[in-house]
């Protein structure tokens, strides 16, 4: 599903150059649930941004679903993002003057789907994350966990190949975190490929594979025994 080879990325700030990714090789198969771990500054968010086509690598190759992703113009990038990827952010990034339902329907709008179909589909995904009753509420009327679940519904709405989650539980308390992770695990169980950046040990163990990043290099890549969030919450 995802295949990257010898990925390099540097940031230039004035005369200083910061080499963030120093040759990453890594591949993800369909249906995997991968945690990308690392302390801050290890390059994990940069990696996710490149995977999400929000940023471009300086060197190396990136294949997504067999397609080479390189030198995309904005239009093509937008199309790929819409078709292949769903984003989940730490700070939810919902549009705050739109209702939960409209937020979920947004990616479908950019796919050119008619309004009634859009609303129907969006409602389906809101039901899936258990927020059907909150469809007409604005984001600031929802709790953090609810907001993140709306964001997850939005990421799912365009039926992407891969879900990219950047610290999905970073702004949530433990109980809510586990609820959100349980939802993500359920989505993975249905066969969706998920990449999840985190720096929390317990969250990473809820994935099936943990990739450890340090100073721009992968220092460890191993399969782990998945801890089900539901059970973790009961402990």
């Amino acid at each position: 599903m995802i295949e990257i080879k010898d990925l390099h990325k540097s940031y230039h700030m004035g005369s200083n150059s910061l080499h963030v990714l120093k040759g990453i090789n890594f591949s993800v198969n369909e249906g995997e649930m991968v945690a990308i771990m690392g302390s801050s500054g290890s390059g994990k968010s940069t990696l996710l941004n490149i995977l999400g086509m929000l940023d471009e690598a300086d060197n190396g190759s990136y294949h997504l679903d067999g397609k080479m992703i390189a030198n995309l113009n904005e239009k093509a990038a937008a199309k790929y993002r819409n078709q292949f990827l769903g984003f989940i952010f730490q700070s939810f990034n919902l549009i705050n003057y739109k209702t939960a339902l409209d937020n979920v329907a947004m990616p479908l709008y950019y796919q050119g789907i008619k309004r009634n179909v859009r609303i129907e589909k969006a409602m389906h995904y809101l039901e899936k994350v258990g927020l059907a009753d909150w469809a007409t509420h604005l984001p600031n009327e929802l709790s953090g966990g609810q907001k993140q679940r709306v964001a997850i519904a939005r990421a799912l709405a365009s039926d992407p190949k891969v879900l990219l989650a950047d610290e999905p539980t970073g702004a949530l308390d433990t109980t809510t975190s586990y609820e959100v992770m349980e939802l993500i695990q359920n989505i993975n169980d249905e066969g969706k490929t998920i990449l999840c950046v985190t720096h929390e040990e317990d969250i990473s163990h809820m994935c099936k594979r943990v990739v450890n990043l340090k100073d721009g290099l992968i220092i460890d890549d191993s399969l782990v025994k998945q801890v089900r969030a539901k059970e973790a919450a009961n402990v």
Partner: protein
């Protein structure tokens, strides 16, 4: 551009941010409103002045004489210069090719005119048949003075519409007899004048009759001509000016008047005046246009400014939209369409408010120089075109900026 979805998006963002939208609209509203009012008044001034000129033919030249103020060729100042029939004939013959209508005039400023029990004080003018066209009169009833009246010096009179109203009320005055200074005149016609009631309180009688009745012999008070108009306005003005000069110098030569004596002979060249005033009006409307345009530019800059703030404020939102698959073109379209819509909507409201105000207040304005201020359809359409263009212009830079927003930077958590 015309997709329903896009409009829903725009209405939604506008209503969610109504204060910002309102403030933007106010600046555009006033821009167009002021432009419309200014243009209305410039057309009002044009109408007013044109109306002043329409009282008489615009290509008219009038000649009066007065008292000399300078000694010349041994003659003392203080001589009264008197025009006579012979002066009129001389000019007629000499400049026959260039003249259209011509008349000598002998008028009494105020004379009591009586019909049955009604009476009033009116100006009485002895004139030729041509006077009808020189004074720009059109007949309501009957006829004007004709050549046979002039040859036979009959006592007939043509009265203004206002006099008819004063003396005859609803009665038909044609064929009735009125008394002027105790002498009976037969009313043969009623005229109306574009200059309004003031110009309709005159009675015209044949010049030959006037000279007899008022014991004037062959004396004339003034001469009036219109020149033959050529299609080219500037040529006509030049001809009018040169004729005026020649009339003046001819009379001055004949009566031995100092060339620089301004009060002995006065020649009024209406066309020259008209040209000056029309030029002035054109300048005024140009200035009004410029002021109006600058006001609109201020409005546009306002919209552009606010749209820039909007883009800045919505950076994160635009980043989110791009992250979930919005094309740059759809972002540009969104901002541009919103800018055009806001300008156009506010502009139309301003346009209608301006037109409405002019319509409501315009007719109430009682001023000789401003009449019927209004904006014609063409100008209004021009303003509308200007608005759409302005909206696009106002939205363009902010839209470009929005399209260039990188989602990764917009979404960076601060």
């Amino acid at each position: 551009m015309f997709s329903l979805e896009r409009w829903q998006e725009i209405f939604e963002t506008m209503s969610k941010n109504w204060l910002r939208t309102l403030l933007t609209m106010i600046s555009v509203f006033f821009g167009i409103f002021i432009l419309v009012i200014l243009l209305g008044f410039s057309s009002g001034i044009k109408n007013g002045v044109r109306n002043e000129f329409e009282q008489d033919a615009t290509n008219r030249i009038s000649i009066w004489t007065g008292v000399t103020t300078k000694e010349f060729k041994g003659l003392n100042p203080g001589r009264r210069i008197q025009l006579r029939n012979s002066d009129f004939e001389e000019i007629n013959t000499k400049y026959d090719d260039d003249l259209e209508y011509r008349t000598g005039l002998y008028s009494i400023w105020g004379g009591t005119v009586t019909y049955k029990k009604e009476s009033g004080n009116y100006r009485i003018e002895g004139a030729n048949a041509d006077q009808q066209f020189i004074e720009n009169e059109s007949m309501v009833l009957g006829r004007f003075i004709n050549n046979s009246d002039l040859q036979t010096s009959v006592k007939v009179a043509v009265i203004g519409n206002q006099i008819k109203k004063d003396l005859f009320k609803d009665e038909n005055p044609i064929g009735k007899s009125i008394e002027v200074f105790g002498i009976n005149f037969l009313v043969v016609g009623v005229y109306t004048d574009p200059g309004g009631t003031r110009e309709e309180t005159r009675i015209f009688i044949p010049i030959t009759t006037a000279q007899k009745v008022f014991n004037a012999g062959d004396k004339l008070r003034s001469l009036a001509y219109t020149i033959k108009m050529s299609d080219n306005f500037d040529e006509a003005v030049a001809l009018s000016a040169s004729l005026s000069e020649q009339f003046e110098s001819d009379i001055k030569n004949k009566y031995s008047i100092a060339p620089d004596d301004r009060s002995a002979v006065r020649v009024n060249d209406t066309l020259e005046e008209a040209k000056k005033i029309y030029g002035l009006i054109d300048t005024i409307s140009l200035v009004f246009w410029i002021i109006g345009l600058f006001t609109i530019i201020a409005g546009i800059v306002g919209v552009s400014n606010i749209m820039l703030i909007v883009v800045k404020e919505r950076t994160k939102e635009i980043g989110i939209r791009k992250a979930i698959g919005a094309l740059p073109s759809s972002i540009i379209g969104m901002i541009l369409q919103e800018a055009i819509f806001i300008t156009a909507l506010a502009g139309f409201i301003g346009l209608f408010a301006g037109v409405f105000l002019l319509d409501a207040v315009g007719p109430m304005i009682e001023n000789d120089f401003i009449k019927n201020p209004q904006v014609d359809f063409k100008t209004a359409m021009l303003a509308v075109g200007l608005l759409i263009f302005a909206g696009a212009l106002a939205g363009f830079i902010p839209a470009r900026r929005a399209a260039n927003i990188k989602p990764i930077e917009a979404l960076r958590d601060e």
